[in-house]
Amino acid sequence: MFQVMRIINLAHGSLAVLAAFALFVLADRYGISPFLGILIVLPAMAVVGWVLQVVVLERASRAGRLVPILATFGLSIVIDNLLFQQFGANTRSLAPYIGDLSYDSWQITDDISVGKIAVLTLVTAVVVLGTIQIFLSFTQLGRAVRATAEDPDTAGLVGIDARRINALATAIAMASVTLAGAALGMRATFDAYAGGTQLLFAFEAAVIGGAGSVWGTLFGGIVLALGQSIGATIAPQGFLIGGHVAFFLVLFARLAIPGSNFRAFLAGALRSRPA
């Protein structure tokens, strides 16, 4: 979403939490398993995203570069507090609704076991990101998305409807937001105000990986998670600190050593392959 529309959506995290709550409601009140629930929530979120795009984001991006940041910040406040209003301060989780899967793991060796949900999340992430990458690189529509991201004015001249492309980008973003919310709910707990933290992690991952490449984001996420885990082993509060520190280390290393970073390396590797 950031790439195509150059909009920093500060409400991203809150939307993921919204999706998580939606799944929770479906599971809690109607007994629908979160995995099935995703099939319902995903299109709903896409619609929400489309509405947001048309009503808020398009106007915001026309008003200047800074306005979208403020508008989406306000939006995140609204979403967070509406969720709080509706669901209260209790933390929720989707774990109870997926049975054993929430804590099951595969034993690899005597000392190492891998949580099934964790693996599932990773696999999903790879699949989703991979699909997006393939879509962008090999389809005409994907090319149109990239073109609109680069130069919306000229894209119009070759016949690309920028508004439709933006709507598509939003829909894709919302789909991944739903999956993120689901993963969050299944893996951990969430509450009405969890959006901020999730947003932070998302952006940290994207920035670490380099905001221009899809695989970079995955790499960034892995680096972030490593930072967090290492921090956690040092001290109980180290989990979050570790992540933030990792973020800053990579960010400033990247600023200090222009050109020699993963993104450039990755970009170079991807470009020289036939598109």
Binding site: Q140, R143, A144, E150, A155, G156, L157, V158, I160, A275
Partner: protein, 243 residues
């Protein structure tokens, strides 16, 4: 048959009135050269015709259809292709991708990837290169090729020779004459008067947003056009103008 008609177009560029009461028409297969000094309003006019710029007043008609309210991508679908000033390629994408994107207009016709490459053979070895790494001449060829892939009714070319060496410009114009002979309707903005006169059927000269001269290229003296170019003789002249 009039492929492109512009009627009483008024275009603003911010606070500035870039085009005032501009009217002209181009018949099928014709080449119209739009000349004038910098700032005369030529690029803004072309962009207004292509739909990238909304006019304040007036109409744009393609094949008789009023497209004034249509946004750029809509007009592209109806057959207007603009090769913008400065080429404006998608530099992060390869030549092939740029060309393939030209098909987004959804128009079918004679122009395919093969035909474009046949017209601009210098692009063949550069197909998989990023557009940002191309030379000026190659970029110009790609930009024209991208426009052609949309099978346009009207091709708008803005400042083809800008930033290119004379030899390269020669080559570009060579390919252009092939295009013209094949019957494409072309509106050409060109600073180089000599070249403009050599390829065009009709010449329109703009000064400060107004048309000051509209004439068939044949038989037009350099003196007349220079006068119009610099505004040495006030008033608008019509001489053997093509309807």
């Amino acid at each position: 048959m009039t492929t492109l008609a512009v009627e009483h177009l008024d275009v603003r560029h911010g606070q500035l009135q870039a085009a005032r009461d501009v009217s002209f028409a181009v018949g099928s297969g014709e080449t119209l050269a739009l000349v004038g000094a910098n700032g005369a309003g030529k690029t803004t006019l072309l962009r207004a015709i292509a739909g990238a710029h909304l006019p304040v007043a007036g109409r744009v008609l393609i094949g008789g259809e009023d497209v004034t309210a249509l946004p750029a991508h809509g007009r592209a679908a109806l057959g207007i292709a603009l090769v913008p000033e400065g080429r404006r390629l998608f530099v992060e994408m390869t030549v092939e991708e740029n060309l393939l994107l030209g098909r987004m207009t959804g128009r079918r016709g004679e122009w395919t990837l093969e035909r474009v490459l046949a017209t601009f053979p210098n692009l063949k070895p550069r197909l998989k290169s990023r557009a940002g790494t191309l030379s000026g001449g190659e970029q110009q060829a790609t930009a024209i090729g991208r426009a052609l892939m949309g099978n346009p009714q009207v091709l708008l070319l803005d400042e083809l020779s800008l930033g290119l060496s004379p030899l390269v410009v020669d080559r570009v114009y060579e390919s252009l004459t092939t295009l013209m002979r094949s019957g494409t309707t072309i509106v050409l903005v060109e600073q180089d008067l000599g070249r403009a006169l050599s390829v065009a059927d009709t010449v329109v000269c703009m000064l400060e947003g107004r048309i000051v001269l509209e004439s068939a290229a044949a038989g037009l003296s350099r003196e007349r056009i220079t006068e119009a170019y610099f505004g040495l003789r006030a008033g608008r002249e019509q001489q053997g103008a093509v309807p």
